[in-house]
Amino acid sequence: MPSLFFYLFTAITLGFGLLVVTARNPVTSALCLAMSFVGLAALFISLDAYFIGTIQILVYAGAVMVLFLFIIMLLDIKAEEGKKPNLPAVIGGVVLAVILALQIVTVSSSYSLGKTPLKNAPLSLNKAAETSVLPTISNDLKVGTLPDAKLMGLTLFKQYGFHLQAIGLLLLVGTVGVVVLSKREKGGQDA
């Protein structure tokens, strides 16, 4: 049964991903990308990464896609009608993508550890509960649930505190940069 869901969400992710690349209308592309991200979030959740799956939906399918749709509608971009696709670029893109996919598939299928099924890498929550420092985490582990968000928080703040602050600074710089970029220059000739 889990493998059925894997193939279903893989089909959603890759099928809508293909539509993103082939659709003529940018709005169609954006909506298909949102669906593709939802399928990808389901794949994350199938890998017991509940927190990452949730922020994938919140940040990508929510915030980023709204930003894309807002810009598409702000600039009023029409579908490319009557324009022929750039044939050499299309051929080059498809050939390169096929070569890259074949390479990765060949390499990963000769990778011996890649053949371990999910059953052979079981989580042992009881064992983790014994070594856990925080009572809230070890209590959750003893009940038999995986406190994914708590463990992510523990890792982020215990091991990657500095990195977290650097990311905060990056977001601040990004915000200031966007304001500077979208400010109209005084006396500029742009309309």
Binding site: D48, Y60, F68, G114
Partner: protein, 105 residues
């Protein structure tokens, strides 16, 4: 039976799809969406490896922290990139890559 390879191959296909889009399309916004797809494909690889490398009975949370940072950087990058696209549209009245050839010799 789902193995690690299944996830790696899905990620490879998603990445190649995004790369084909970046090369073949001429609309900058769609190129940008394909870039986001490639970033997400890399995230899928990281999460898959994190789940299959069990450390003390739990998935490897170092990899998932890296995914968290990647998603944050991608969000900041989208905001800045879209501001650049808006600035480009203001000066060229177009979002086609063919209209931006000033650096071409």
């Amino acid at each position: 039976m789902i193995t690690l390879n299944h996830y790696l191959i899905v990620s490879a296909l998603l990445f190649s799809l995004g790369m084909a889009g970046v090369i073949a399309r001429r609309n900058i916004l769609i190129i940008y969406m394909c870039l986001e797809m490639m970033l997400s494909a890399a995230n899928l690889t990281l999460v898959a490896f994190s789940r299959f490398r069990v450390v003390e009975g739990l998935p490897d949370y170092a990899a998932q922290s890296l995914v968290f940072f990647t998603i944050t950087v991608a969000a900041a990058e989208v905001a800045v990139g879209l501001a650049i696209i808006v600035a480009l549209y203001r000066s060229k009245q177009s979002v086609e890559v063919e209209s931006v050839t000033k650096l071409q010799g």
